[in-house]
Amino acid sequence: MKISRSARIVIYVVLIVAILFSFFPMAWMLTSSLKPENEIYSDPPTWIPQTFTTRNFSDLFDKFNFAILTRNSVIISVSVVVISLVIGAMAAYGFSRYKFTGSNILLGGLLLTRMITPSSLVVPLFSIMETLGRLNKLDSIIVGVAVLNLPFVVWMLKPFFDELPREVEEAGEIDGLSPVSVFWRISVPLAAPGLFTVLLFSFIAGWVDLLFGMSFSTVPEAMPLTVGLMQMQTGYKIYWGAMMAGGIYLTLPTFLLALIFQQFLVKGMRSGF
């Protein structure tokens, strides 16, 4: 079936506007990040930098501790991935395969927590972490993000395990594999696309967390990039140049992941509901 000429024009115009709308804020951020400070303040603004500079990016490392903050963000993200994958995959598989009395209630309870307001959990976790002496340590941030991520992971992974063919697992059982080996050697490899989706979402969850980072840490040694970016806006001054560069720096990894693995993300959005 052919699209009529007028319909085609409407479609193209709307979609091009959608592209511009999606792309413009970050594009503006990118060009601003390459302008010297005085040009950022020029009124009217310049659409293309008159003088190119990478000063804002080098400032991130020279003045705003971005080397340490990057290390912290990577540690947080990777830890959240590991915790989510191991505990989440086991739980999702358990709920998918071994229905036992009360398992539905437990699953429902776990899923209800998916909707909890994160900032309401920060208040008691802060006191607990304070008591345990874990403030200004990365592990308190990791725990906070991972706990809120876990229900989401189970919710997202269970459908993947539900769809796996039982026959293959049963064949493994007949061959004498224990339930753990069946899980580890048969089901996990088969569910690899689902696990990879969870890996992506968990990494991003760790990478973008602001709430736990800013509540639990006040020193650069235990601060993620998001908090470093937030602190470029002080009561006295906003470091616009560095803030633009920092915003680009923070966005680049998640953007590349999303672009390369778009199908996984879209699939995750769908099963995440």
């Binding site: 699209i3 592209i19 358990g94």
Partner: protein, 293 residues
């Protein structure tokens, strides 16, 4: 019987770690929260929590700050989700049409370009999005005012509109891709049949596309609304900080500020208990809606 026992055992072993984590870092903290909600604990005044009974709950019910914050959150949720659904649906319908019926090479290339660009806002960390929008809407050197030839300080003159815009920018792609998947799962033969029956594009949308994706639309919108209501934080925190005054003080932000800015942990706990009750109520309704759909 023994097989069933083995299953129970395997199921418990596999799910136990998650319950340990959830209990230690979710259930226990919530219990702690409930206890603290009966105390006055402000470290600036006294290091010892003082039991005050239902005092905090009285404050919760009577305080203008709390009711105002709830109203702001409801307004934010309704307006931003409505905008997201409208934009998402429009783009999804048009993109689906081009994906299914566009046969030329240009159509195909264009579709994949659109796909790539549309994921960008979703992949942008909320804090980066906030910073980007703060720049865009700056009164003197921001490009939006330059294009409009105005001097509008958006975040102080139209604060709610501004945070809705930034939030809709970031979250529309998610809803769009959900709708798109729903539309693409409609049997193309049905569109063919509708055309043969002489339906025009609008009729096709109203009588075929819309009814077919209504379940997806309902569930996705409901989920998005609950998420917007319970989780809005980063963008507001970074752009308006809840201001000017309390104009954009959404509920999750009020909880946080009461604890960490005003150091009123007792009142903050009471607010947090209320937030959790609201979340549980909403997600309970959601689970029911989802089961029906």
């Amino acid at each position: 019987m023994s097989r069933n026992k083995a299953r129970i055992k395997a199921g418990l072993v596999l799910t136990l770690p998650s319950f340990f984590v959830v209990f230690a870092f979710l259930i226990y903290p919530i219990g702690y929260l409930i206890r603290m909600s009966f105390y006055d604990y402000s470290p600036l005044r006294s290091l010892q929590p003082v039991f005050v009974g239902l005092e905090n709950y009285k404050w919760l019910i009577t305080s203008d700050i709390v009711s105002h914050s709830l109203l702001v959150t409801i307004a934010f949720t309704i307006l931003s989700v409505a905008l997201e659904v409208f934009l998402g649906l429009m783009v999804a319908v048009l993109l689906a049409k081009l994906l299914v019926e566009g046969k030329t090479l240009i159509d195909k290339i264009f579709c994949s370009v659109v796909n790539g660009f549309l994921i960008l806002p979703f992949a942008t960390p909320a804090i980066s999005a906030a910073v980007a929008w703060k720049m865009l809407l700056q009164p003197s050197f921001g490009p939006v005012d330059a294009i409009l030839n105005q001097q509008i300080a958006w975040f102080s003159e139209y604060p709610l509109l501004s945070i809705i815009l930034a939030d809709a920018w970031k979250m529309t792609p998610m809803i769009l891709f959900l709708f798109l998947a729903g539309i693409l799962s409609i049997d193309p033969g049905q569109f063919e049949a509708a055309r043969i029956d002489g339906a025009n594009t609008l009729q096709e949308f109203y009588f075929l596309t819309l009814p077919s994706i209504l379940p997806v639309l309902g569930v996705a919108t409901a989920f998005r609304a609950v998420d917007a209501f319970t989780k809005v934080f980063d963008i507001v925190f970074m752009t308006t900080g809840g201001g000017p005054g309390n104009d954009t003080q959404v509920f999750p932000l009020l909880v946080w500020k009461t604890a960490f800015d005003h150091l009123q942990f007792g009142q903050a706990s009471t607010l947090a208990v209320a937030a959790i009750l609201i979340s549980l109520l909403l997600s309970g309704i959601l689970l029911l809606v989802r089961r029906k759909a």
